[in-house]
Amino acid sequence: MSGLAVLIPIALMLGLAGLGAFFWSLSSGQFDDLDGAAVRILIEPDEDEIH
């Protein structure tokens, strides 16, 4: 039973961290252009940008 006292706070912390990450990504605009994000990976970078 004493394991619960450790495990439950850890579980909640991890969950909260995930929620925090979600809020951060939302406010930093990562969900603003989902279609763009999907295709941007296909863009060839310029030669000088690679280095």
Binding site: I8, L12, G15, F23, F31, L42
Partner: protein
């Protein structure tokens, strides 16, 4: 560097792939004066940080050179609109987090946690649930409160009451150490419902972005000549009547006015829908938004800003669209019946158990169980999920839906009205007949055609390029406004333009014909026609087979309309003004018909807004795109019947979902009233009915056939 930075936003409807993004961002970032360019593909927007000295018109010209037509976006209104979706997504994230954690604790309780452990788990659940309900439940509380204040009821009223009572009662249970807490039920209810809300809102956003403010930006501004002769660029709202406006070839007029100097031809298709060009010279009126095709003009502004014909059209559209906002969506109609039933059922169980001698605590517990079980969880998901899946399927067929309710309205349609120019026809000139030019003549003609910006010259160039003709280089090429282009090749003058100008023996231009001729050699007439869309007849046939009553409403001339109407075998009315079209549609609606309007031009805008539902090709004018509920890509007209069938299938699935959700309740409610529903049963019932509804909606993945 301390140059002042300016920020401009553009709408670029034409971009749709990674190549476009790379081309636009790369091309702009290389340009001097631009410090940052970022594309948003979802909203088709481009935001640019640039030096203050740079005009938006310069950036537009840059984009033109890159091959994209852009419209300056005056205000960032659409950004504010998106915040609704964003808030829902935040609430959804919180509710998801809470639901998972509470479920984790609840499962332990259900599997037999006792005494102090159960007590601790209940308290932990309360700790998570209370802030979650307060935060994530706000969309429902707000909407329920708005409804209640107006003495109405909607789906959100039973939801809010259910969530609040369940939370309060569970807190009470936790305090007195009771065995049942419904925190998991309350929170997962919020989660499921928010998912439906978010899908609905995201779907609306996708299409609404920038649509509302497009109208004002058809022309951003023009070159105004001051008293001292200096020409400066002024935004459209800074142009006043009496000013002298210089309009180059291929530019649109920024205001209504009269020609002061120069001769040219004007493409009025934006306003009238007519494809033929109108010749204008000194004293003739021109309208804002129309295109100056053949030569530079100086015009004296007679009306600007809100007084222009195009602005008048916008107002007409707004009033025509107001009738539609009264449409009650199917989910709300269901809620009108459902909400009172749920309320009275819960109240009756409470009273019944009180009369039967149970304590108020037990009676309330049962009433809450009834509320949670009947809560329209599946109903809240039934409509949005079906619509989102159908929208995805239609999207793959090149049909974009701007509003979730569009599918509902489309499914009820029994009358279809088509515009002609640009809708039944392609809206661009297609060569007709066999090419009578020999290879040498064709090469010269292409050389001339490429030197002109006239739409017919474009059509000639395109037609010749499709036949793999290589252009020759001519000397002394000059464009004669209103007539055509001429140039010299091997000492002879070659002309491409109006038939009677190219060779006097040819007839004057009737319809869209151009001619090519070389001095002292023969001349040839090249006939062009605004061709029907490839499968217009098939699409119209399919609509008629589906029981639709089809007809054409056109602003074009009688003769042009009649040929299209007879080719398709449908009745037509020609020479209608935009207001006439609206009147015709409103008359039909008055007779109880449900009208689908398919159109594209500015002149169709009000009619599109007046129809119960409207479709436009993606090549439509901005106004057409703004006013339409659905857009379709490509040259084919097949998407119109496809969308109609898909809408009917979607509504069938929505109705099935209602039956499933309500049927489920009919089974579960007696158990709840009898007091047999524990939090575990409630959670299982809620999840399975939601899964069932979602699974049924997924059948719509192939609805657009």
């Amino acid at each position: 560097m301390t140059t002042a930075l300016d920020h401009s936003e553009f709408l670029i409807p034409g971009m749709r792939c990674a190549g476009c993004i790379a081309k636009i961002e790369g091309g702009l970032q290389k340009a001097p004066g631009v410090s940052r360019a970022r594309v948003n593909l979802t909203t088709k927007r481009l935001s640019v940080d640039h030096d203050a000295g740079m005009e938006p018109a310069d950036i537009k010209a840059l984009l033109d050179r890159l091959g994209f037509s852009a419209e300056l976006s005056v205000n960032a209104g659409a950004v504010a609109d998106r915040s609704e979706s964003r808030n829902l997504l935040k609430a959804l994230g919180v509710a998801g987090f809470a639901a998972m954690n509470i479920m984790l604790l609840s499962v332990s309780v259900w599997s037999g946690a006792e005494g102090a452990t159960r007590q601790m788990f209940h308290w932990l659940s309360a700790l998570i649930a209370m802030p979650t309900v307060a935060y994530a439940g706000r969309p429902f509380f707000r909407s329920a409160w708005t409804a209640l204040r107006r003495a109405r009821t909607n789906m959100d009223v039973p939801i809010s009451i259910g969530i609040l009572i369940a939370t309060a009662l569970s807190l009470y249970e936790t305090i007195i150490g009771g065995p049942h807490a419904y925190f998991d039920g309350a929170v997962s209810l919020i989660f499921f419902l928010l998912a439906g809300r978010y899908l609905d809102s995201a779907m609306r956003d996708r299409a609404r972005d920038g649509a509302a403010n497009l109208l004002r930006q058809t022309v951003q501004g023009g070159m105004v000549q001051g008293a001292d002769g200096a020409v400066t660029w002024r935004a459209a709202n800074e142009i006043d009547p009496g000013m002298l406006l210089s309009v180059g070839m291929g530019e649109r007029f920024a205001a209504d006015g009269r020609v002061e100097q120069g001769t040219s031809a004007v493409d009025r298709s934006l306003v009238t829908g007519e494809t033929a060009l109108d010749a204008v010279s000194s004293g003739d009126p021109v309208l804002a938004g129309t295109l100056n095709v053949e030569g530079p003009l100086m015009i004296r502004v007679t009306a600007a800003g809100p007084d222009t014909t195009i602005a008048e059209m916008a107002r007409l559209m707004e009033t025509a669209g107001q009738g539609r906002s009264h449409y009650v969506r199917v989910a709300d109609r269901a809620a009108r019946l459902y909400a009172p039933a749920v309320h009275s059922l819960a109240a009756m169980s409470f009273i019944g158990w009180m009369l039967a001698g149970a304590g108020w605590h037990q009676a309330l517990l049962i009433a809450v169980a009834v509320l949670i079980i009947t809560c329209p969880c599946a109903l809240g998901l039934a409509v949005p999920v079906a619509q989102v899946v159908a929208a995805g399927s239609l999207m793959r067929r090149g049909i974009l839906i701007k509003d979730g309710s569009a599918l509902e309205r489309l499914a009820e349609v029994d009358t279809v009205r088509f515009d002609k120019t640009g809708t039944l026809t392609l809206g661009r000139m297609v060569f007709e007949g066999a090419l009578s030019l020999n290879p040498e003549e064709a090469a010269i003609a292409l050389g001339l055609a490429q030197a002109s910006r006239h739409p017919l010259a474009h059509a000639v160039a395109q037609m010749l390029q499709e036949r793999n003709v290589q252009p020759v280089v001519l000397t002394g090429v000059k464009e004669c406004p209103g007539l055509g282009v001429e140039g010299a090749w091997q000492g002879k003058t070659a002309r491409l333009g109006k038939p009677d100008w190219v060779a006097s023996q040819l007839p004057g231009s009737a319809g869209a014909a151009t001619a090519f001729g070389i001095e002292r050699e023969g001349a040839h007439v090249l006939a062009f026609r605004d061709a029907l869309r490839p499968d217009a007849a098939h699409a119209v046939g399919r609509l008629a087979a589906a029981g639709m009553e089809v007809a054409i409403l056109s602003g074009d001339r009688e003769q042009a309309v009649r040929s299209v109407a007879s080719a398709l075998g449908v009745p037509a009315v020609a020479e209608l003004s935009p207001a006439d079209k609206v009147a015709r549609i409103e008359q039909l609606r008055g007779e109880g018909k449900r009208v689908l309007m398919v159109g594209d031009g500015l002149n169709d805008g009000p009619a599109l807004a007046a129809g119960n539902v409207s479709m436009a090709p993606a090549s439509a004018s901005d106004v057409g795109q703004t006013a339409a509920d659905l857009l379709f890509l490509g040259d084919s007209l097949a998407p119109v019947p496809i969308a109609l069938m898909a809408a009917r299938r979607t509504m069938r699935v929505v109705r099935q979902n209602f039956v499933l959700a309500i049927g489920y309740n009919i089974l579960a409610v007696p158990l709840a009233i009898l007091g047999l529903v524990t939090p575990l049963v409630a959670a299982v019932a809620m999840s399975t009915s939601s899964i069932l509804v979602v699974a049924n909606a997924l059948r719509l993945r192939t609805c657009a056939r």
